[in-house]
């Protein structure tokens, strides 16, 4: 009973309406427009577009996970690409094992790159990945473990602010270098690719693509609700208090280390799941996902959307990646300049991102309509930059 009312109160009435409308649009309308309309129709959603949207949904989940730790607990992780990639690699390992004898060398156990390296046995850390349930478990467990260990070391020593960012950035860079090495057994430079099947379905088939897209949307929705549950709980307020005045929280008797460790680990799990949904849709995972720049880009998505709001992260991921897709098609050489400019504009003029800007605008319009003394946009405009 208590839990039910708690769940119902995750969103306002309006909020639930918007949430459900968006969910239905994403998981019903887009697949229907893909399946039922003829390709000539202007409303037809081509399958490549559907997969592109599926990719954005994964990025949105990734951005959401970063907002949880950065927007609420105030710790900017610049290594979230690592959790995303590790989740992706776990899924990739499962997909590699599904190839079986259909590889170039036709080895039933060893992926092609291992045969190429003259390996004769599957390394122990590849064991179990032929089972989907095991891979799915590892998708969450591996990022969680890394976040827990790294977080424990950092938070216990009270490493905060820019030092935490640098440590997480160093972590993702080190991982990338490690994964580049062939001897690591993850396909080195080329990573894992040439997937054939997922859960017995042809990975290229339209039906599978729709399935993966819908799964991404559903998981994003669940991830959002879980994050809402955390940030609207008293623990969420403890996290915001940590963001405001970390040491004061300790004098109230809360363990700052444990609170941050919890949210960092949950965040890493969400990022790992995002990576696992991403890999079958793009068909490849390689170490470039762990390049430091990628992890910084995630922070840009969140900053552009507006941090500390959760849905801002989702909006930011869609906006920036939409722009990126457009630019890489129209003028690829300008993309990095555009990204840089976007970040500068946001920091200078939209410190609260798109969401904060929208709230300010709404407040301004409301004030014009009814000259009330109360400021509606107060909360948003005073929100810490």
């Amino acid at each position: 009973m208590l839990l039910m009312s708690r769940l119902a109160s995750l969103e306002s009435r309006r909020g639930w309406q918007v949430f459900l409308i968006l969910l239905v649009l994403t998981i019903v309308l887009v697949p229907v427009l893909n399946l039922t309309l003829p390709p000539e129709s202007p409303f037809h959603v081509p399958t490549y577009m559907l997969s592109l949207l599926g990719k954005y949904l994964c990025f949105a989940l990734l951005a959401l996970s970063l907002d949880l730790i950065w927007g609420y607990a105030g710790a900017l992780s610049l290594g979230h690409g690592a959790f995303f990639a590790l989740g992706g690699y776990c899924m990739g390992m499962y997909l590699m094992r599904q190839i079986g004898t259909r590889g170039v060398y036709g080895n039933p156990d060893l992926p092609d790159f291992m045969v190429f390296l003259n390996w004769t046995e599957l390394p122990w850390y590849w064991w179990g990945f032929d089972q989907f349930w095991f891979a799915a478990l590892m998708v969450m467990a591996v990022p969680a473990l890394l976040a827990y260990v790294l977080g424990w070391l950092a938070f216990r020593s009270r490493i905060t602010g820019v030092y935490f960012s640098i440590i997480t950035q160093a972590m993702v860079f080190a991982l990338m270098l490690a994964f580049f090495r062939n001897e690591m057994g993850f396909g080195g430079n080329n990573g894992l690719t040439d997937f054939k099947e997922i859960l017995g379905f042809n990975i290229q088939a339209q039906g599978t693509r729709i399935g993966l897209y819908v799964a991404s949307a559903v998981v994003l929705a669940l991830g959002y609700l879980i994050s809402r549950f955390i940030v609207t709980s008293k623990l969420g307020r403890v996290l915001m208090a940590i963001r405001d005045a970390e040491s004061r929280v300790r004098f109230l008797g809360y363990s700052v280390t444990n609170a941050k460790l919890f949210v960092f680990t949950v965040s890493a799990i969400l990022a790992g799941i995002a990576g696992a949904l991403y890999v079958p849709q793009v068909g490849i995972i390689n170490p470039s996902e762990m390049s430091p720049g990628n992890s910084i880009e995630i922070a840009v998505w969140v900053a552009v959307g507006g941090r500390g709001t959760l849905f801002g992260a989702i909006i930011g991921a869609f906006t920036v990646n939409g722009a990126k897709s457009f630019f890489t098609g129209a003028a690829p050489e300008f993309w990095l300049f555009f990204l840089g400019a976007l970040f500068i504009v946001c920091t200078l003029f939209l410190p609260q991102g798109i969401v904060g800007f929208a709230a300010q605008m709404r407040a301004r319009i409301a004030r014009k309509a009814t000259p009330a003394p109360e400021e509606v946009g107060n909360a948003a405009s005073k929100h810490r930059a």
């Binding site: 307020r237 208090a241 963001r243 004098f251 008797g253 609170a259 005073k382 929100h383």
Partner: protein, 273 residues
């Protein structure tokens, strides 16, 4: 893990111990706070120099001293923010505070108000008090916490005491300086500690606010021990408690406000600046 060994209720039952003009023997028995030979140095500079101080259960004590005397550093040592180089710090005559971190010390029942008022600016007044509310502090307990009607009533009560009832839904950042000081005192009350440490609670307050704060503290002092650091002599006089004068990291004088103000060493320290 250490827990509060005495419930706050038991303190209520005992008659408040009056400050005695006679110097207390340096024995921990019966004390709520016992500091003996505590020294802290920062890069060779001794902020606390062999400081010894005993606060009895139920006692209110005011601590004065010129800027840089080490008053805040003393509170840092008691609350676990700073580890002393040497010396004993005992709570309830048995718990060694130098071995514990800030959160554990807070959970023993030691509350602190900072010199610079620190409230959580982006949370509402109500939420600030809710965070301070005495409940299970574990991460999962906090995640699944549900405010009971009784607890909400308790918060309302404190809101009334600190005079912020009509501002409960406002962000704490929007409060005036004096109101933030009160909110922080309210948070101390929510914690239901046995020992409250207040660092310059009336700094930046108007005369009226200062008077109100004095009577609020006297009210609170009835069922707990309080240490107040303050510069404002009117306020110290209004509290009417035993006064300890700190100077260069150790105790210079101790006694009633009149005794202390008549002490030539104290006059020298204050006028010499």
């Amino acid at each position: 893990m250490l827990r509060a060994s005495t419930a706050p209720d038991t303190a209520e039952l005992e008659p408040p111990v009056q400050a005695t003009p006679i110097r207390t023997a340096r024995q921990p028995a019966g004390s709520i706070l016992y500091l003996d030979g505590v020294s802290v140095s920062f890069d060779g500079f001794k902020a606390l120099n062999n400081l010894s101080l005993v606060i009895n259960k139920g006692e209110m004590r005011t601590i004065i001293g010129p800027n840089g005397a080490g008053k805040t550093t003393m509170m840092d040592v008691i609350t676990g923010k700073t580890k002393p180089d040497k010396g004993d710090v005992l709570f309830n005559a048995e718990v060694d505070l130098t071995k514990l971190d800030e959160a554990k010390i807070a959970n023993l029942g030691i509350g602190r108000k900072f010199q610079k008022p620190t409230v959580f600016e982006h949370l509402t007044v109500f939420e600030n008090l809710e965070l301070a509310l005495k409940t299970e502090r574990g991460t999962f307990a906090t995640l699944f916490f549900h405010l009971t009607g009784q607890q909400a009533k308790r918060i309302d009560e404190i809101l009334g005491v600190i005079g912020l009832g009509d501002r409960r839904k406002e962000k704490a950042g929007a409060l005036s300086h004096g109101q933030k000081q009160w909110l922080e005192i309210g948070m101390l009350l929510m914690q239901e500690g046995q020992l409250l440490l207040l660092d310059e609670p009336v700094a930046g307050m108007t005369d009226f606010e200062t008077e109100t704060t004095a009577s609020l503290l006297l009210e609170i002092a009835r069922d707990r021990s309080i240490v107040v650091v303050e510069h404002d002599m009117e306020f110290v006089r209004a509290l009417g408690a035993k006064v300890t004068v700190l100077h260069e990291g150790s105790v210079l004088a101790e006694g009633s406000i009149d005794t202390v103000q008549a002490d030539h060493r104290v006059i020298e320290v204050y006028l010499g600046r």
